[in-house]
């Protein structure tokens, strides 16, 4: 059987520097999934981009051939003319980019950008394309595909944008799909759904899939072939099963050992002490209005958060997990004053244990400066949150500069040190943000947040783009600092394993509401809410023998109307959050 795609001896380099990707070989059969795993910054993205020749301007393919076999024809993608290549792109081979926010045009509606593929390659009429797109939207888990179709990227949550990207890559049903960390921003239930969809498509059309991921659980659940990369080189490659069962290369072993997991036997934990709260959110709601395109139609209202009450004790970690688009980011932004809550909501911040609380949305100038120094944010989308025309050095030292801390060289010193702590090298300081890999940017973002020695950090999925070993390093760093400096985190994540490890308290969100809240032990030991149960069930584990329980996932992740009576809620009737046992709150009718 001829492989669908074969990559031989691929080397890619930037500028005149030494090659970043060296001697990469792999091949992929139709209908198969090849998982590309490895260290953050090891060249996975560059390899994928090299296949479609979508490399940064200063990158060149130094050697190697990439051949696409199709209908008995073989196309050498490295030497194909631009015009023919255009025909391959998006049509036979399509790609999901790693950072969905920046990869979508800010000025065009999602629907337009997605349908375009069909107009281009399938000669679909506008209405026909729209139908197909809406259908795909439905399947990637958009609760309201029509709305998504009309939205602009900035109106969607991170996970929704990512799903839009996925839909864009899949509507045209390509022969080969290159998915660069397609589910980083998705909660596990949605992720399960999306992976299911991809599998379906593979079965239907024999589509090949190159899946770049750091989530070994996903690898275990989907891949037939695995390629492990480290520093631009393939460390180990081959069929998934033997590789996962008994990794041969030391790096692979190291990687697998670092994978966190939900503790199999969780113990209920005691409720959290709530006497010294650094951050308190009281009845926070947020309604957005989505601008309608036409002058006559009225704008759509979107309730991103509905009556959120959260307390974060000093020195602790409060994790928020939940469905993509459930308002986690919104809540976090409100907590830091980046966005104003609807009237009635209040956010209180206590700079020091005995001091009076500050209302975050009503501060004096001095209070604001102090607050901005004490509270930092790691953004969900690190690429967007770094100024594209600012070198990393400047970006890192900027907070210090703003608050007038240290001399010029001290600031540099600190930046370099910080960079090292997050596992990046000092020589990157003079680069611009675009010259980094996704995971590296995420670490930059973390480094920047820590530059000021804050007392509160809001981390919006800080490790989603990191491979497990780097993630391990970062988590250790976070914990370390927390314990040393009594730092508090508001930690948003999809990865329950990470949450289990770092959090002192977990809040589960769904559709703008907190549905269950408890310390992680309690939660994993005794999940009450169907959605929580679904989440736990959907968490993939790097164990081929424990596939995801899709039945449970479907049950909890379905629309709230389909839940058991006790938990059911609708737009208008919402049960209140009741404390079932000490420290364990569930949203249900009692």
């Amino acid at each position: 059987m001829t492989p669908l795609l074969s990559v031989e001896n691929l080397s890619v380099g930037f500028g005149k520097d030494e090659a970043i990707v060296r001697d990469v070989n792999f091949s992929l059969n139709p209908g198969e999934t090849l998982a590309l795993v490895g260290e953050s910054g090891s060249g996975k993205t560059v390899t994928c981009r090299a296949i479609l020749r979508i490399l940064p301007r200063n990158a060149q393919i130094r050697s190697g051939t990439i051949t696409l076999h199709r209908d008995g024809q073989s196309l050498n993608l490295t030497s194909l003319g631009e015009r023919q290549l255009r025909d391959v792109r998006g049509n036979q081979v399509s790609m999901i980019f790693q950072e969905p926010m920046r990869s979508l045009s800010p000025l065009h509606r999602i629907g337009n950008q997605v349908s375009e593929v069909l107009w281009l390659h399938r000669d679909a009429s506008e209405s026909n394309a729209k139908r197909q797109v809406l259908d795909t939207f439905e399947r990637v888990g958009f609760p309201d595909p029509e709305r998504a179709y009309r939205s602009y990227p900035f109106e969607l949550s991170g996970g929704m944008r990512q799903r839009a990207m996925i839909a864009m890559a899949m509507v045209a049903k390509p022969d080969l799909l290159i998915a660069d960390e397609p589910t980083t921003a998705l909660d596990v239930t949605t992720q399960a759904q999306v992976l299911g969809l991809i599998k379906d498509l593979q079965r239907e059309t024999g589509m090949g899939l190159i899946l770049v991921t750091h989530d070994l659980g996903v690898v275990a659940n989907t891949a037939e072939q695995v390629v492990v990369m480290h520093r631009g080189r393939v460390m180990e490659s081959g069929p998934a099963e033997p590789l996962l069962r008994s990794p041969a290369h030391p790096y692979t072993k190291q990687l697998f050992n670092a994978a966190p997991s939900i503790p199999a036997e969780a113990k209920p934990a005691p409720p959290l002490q709530e006497d010294d709260l650094i951050l308190q959110m009281k009845g926070v709601s947020k309604t957005y209005s989505m601008r309608s395109g036409s002058a006559w139609r009225s704008d759509t209202l979107i309730h991103a958060c509905r009556g959120i009450d959260l307390n974060l004790p000093r020195g602790k970690t409060l994790a928020i997990v939940g469905e993509s688009g459930s308002g986690k980011t919104t809540a976090a932004r409100i907590a830091l004053g980046a966005e104003a809550p609807d009237p009635g909501g209040q956010v209180l911040f206590r700079p020091d244990p005995n001091g009076a609380p500050i209302t975050v949305h009503d501060m004096t100038r001095a209070q604001r400066t102090a607050f901005q120094r004490a509270a930092q944010m790691v953004f969900q989308d690190p690429y967007s949150s770094l100024s594209p025309r600012m070198r990393v050095l400047d970006a890192l030292t900027e907070p210090l500069e703003i608050h007038g801390i240290g001399t010029r060289s001290e600031r540099r010193e600190r930046a370099a040190a910080m960079l090292q702590q997050v596992g990046l090298s000092g020589d990157m300081l003079q680069r611009y943000p675009h010259a980094f890999s996704g995971g590296q940017r995420q670490r930059l973002s973390i480094a920047r947040a820590m530059m000021l020695n804050p007392s509160l950090i809001v981390c919006d999925e800080p490790t989603s783009a990191l491979d497990v070993s780097v993630q391990e390093q970062i988590l250790t760093l976070l914990e370390d600092i927390r314990d040393r400096m009594n730092l508090s985190y508001l930690f948003i994540s999809h990865d329950l394993a990470v949450v289990a490890r770092i959090a002192d308290e977990v809040a589960v969100m769904r559709q703008g509401l907190v549905v269950e809240q408890a310390p992680p032990g309690t939660l994993f030991y005794n999940p009450k809410h169907p959605y929580t149960k679904a989440l736990i069930a959907a968490q993939p584990t790097p164990d081929i023998d424990r596939p995801i329980d899709l039945r449970l996932v479907a049950l909890g992740a379905g629309s709230p109307e389909s839940w058991p009576d006790a938990f059911r809620f609708s737009q208008t009737v919402v049960p209140s959050l009741t404390e079932l046992e000490p420290g364990h709150k569930v949203r249900c009718h009692v």
Binding site: P56, S387, R391, D394, G426, D427, Y432
Partner: protein
């Protein structure tokens, strides 16, 4: 690379989990930003050469009088409309250094043109470091030494002479002193105003935006024409042409900013919604810092292009104004003034050299353009 029996490949190069992370040289780290920009700029050859040319042009300005063989208003009344004279080196096949042939004018009463006949038998060598009309080095030190001048009894019109017998080449050199400086003041004024007001309106939005926009609208709704007419009546008569020109270019600048301000505003209105702006704000960056460090760099290309484009407009602004009785007039010399004299058919068809001042304008504008382009490229993070 080894192949395991189950079909796996394993890299067999030595693996070091703790591979050292290379350190950047300190020198590089401490390099200030301008140095990094300069390093990138150096690679843009065209931009570099243009920059050097501009630098030389500006350095030449104080010495224009020294380089020019004549003073700007020196009339050789026997040589009206003399055509450009070549400088020769060989006479009768023999090399005798740079020289010119003397020319004599004759009035042709049929065509009403001056006919110039060169006396090819009498080569007259040019003189160097010779005495001529008084000029002022850097506007201060009086001197009558010129780099080169015509031999006594002959003339040296490298680029011909104009209607009053003045040397076009010398006038262009002198004209540069005004054209390359005063006009730029207007650009500066317009940019400072346009950027400040535009960024304030765009960044802050709301009421400030409303106010600034109304001012812009009103400013733009009042056409310039009546203003110029009123101005030409109001300027005190004892003002020299240069100060009038100065005021005019300042006013040109003041009138010019709304357009730029609106572009800046529009761009900032959308840029301010970017996540990195949010991030900076959340770190406590002041508004001016956000504008300077985050917003403006993202609009730099547009600004550089706009600045380049304003240059010809400012140099030529006076030609348009002279229709209204404003603008520079003799005895001040500028390229615009010279072109103004050339604005008739005869200059195009019969005495094309009187329109030569177009050349330096184009050259200057093009070099500014390439210079700006180089600058743009070296500020562009995506360029390597």
């Amino acid at each position: 690379m080894t192949q395991l029996p189950d079909g796996r490949y394993v890299d067999d190069a030595p693996y070091d989990a703790q591979a050292s992370i290379q350190q950047l040289e300190r020198r590089d780290l401490d390099a200030p930003n301008w140095l990094l920009i300069w390093r990138k700029f150096r690679q843009h050859k065209l931009g570099l050469y243009s920059g050097i040319f501009l630098l030389l042009s500006y350095l030449m300005l104080p010495f224009a009088g020294f380089i020019a063989p004549y003073t700007p208003n020196e009339r050789l009344s026997e040589h009206l409309y003399a055509p450009p004279q070549g400088v020769n080196f060989f006479h009768d096949g023999a090399f005798i250094g740079p020289f010119v042939y003397p020319i004599v004018a004759e009035a042709d009463m049929e065509t009403f043109q001056w006919k110039f006949v060169a006396d090819e038998s009498r080569p007259m060598p040019l003189k160097f470091f010779c005495e001529g009309g008084t000029h002022h080095l850097a506007g201060l030190i009086a001197s009558d030494t010129h780099l080169f001048c015509a031999p006594p009894g002959a003339t040296l019109f490298l680029w011909g002479a104009d209607r009053l017998g003045r040397d076009v080449f010398s006038r262009i050199l002198y004209g540069a002193q005004l054209s390359l400086t005063v006009g730029l003041i207007g650009i500066t004024v317009s940019f400072v105003l346009g950027i400040s007001f535009g960024s304030i309106a765009g960044y802050f939005g709301g009421r400030i935006d409303w106010m600034i926009n109304r001012v812009i609208e009103i400013l733009r709704s009042l056409p310039e024409l009546p203003l110029w007419l009123a101005l030409s009546a109001a300027v005190p008569s004892n003002w020299g042409p240069v100060s009038v020109f100065f005021i005019i270019s300042v006013i040109l600048g003041i009138l010019d900013w709304p357009g730029l301000a609106r572009s800046v505003r529009a761009k900032f209105l959308s840029l301010r919604e970017e996540e990195y702006v949010r991030a900076a704000e959340m770190m406590g960056a002041s508004s001016s810092r956000v504008i300077r460090k985050h917003l403006l760099p993202n609009f730099m290309s547009h600004l550089i292009a706009s600045a380049t484009l304003s240059i010809p407009a400012m140099i030529l602004g006076e030609t348009a104004l002279s229709f209204l009785g404003l603008g520079l007039r003799a005895p001040a010399v500028s390229w615009g003034v010279m072109l103004n004299d050339a604005q008739n058919l005869a200059s195009i068809e019969i005495y094309p050299w009187t329109a030569i001042p177009m050349l330096p304008i184009i050259v200057i504008v093009l070099t500014f353009n390439f210079f700006g382009d180089g600058l743009r490229d070296s500020l562009d993070p995506y360029e390597s």
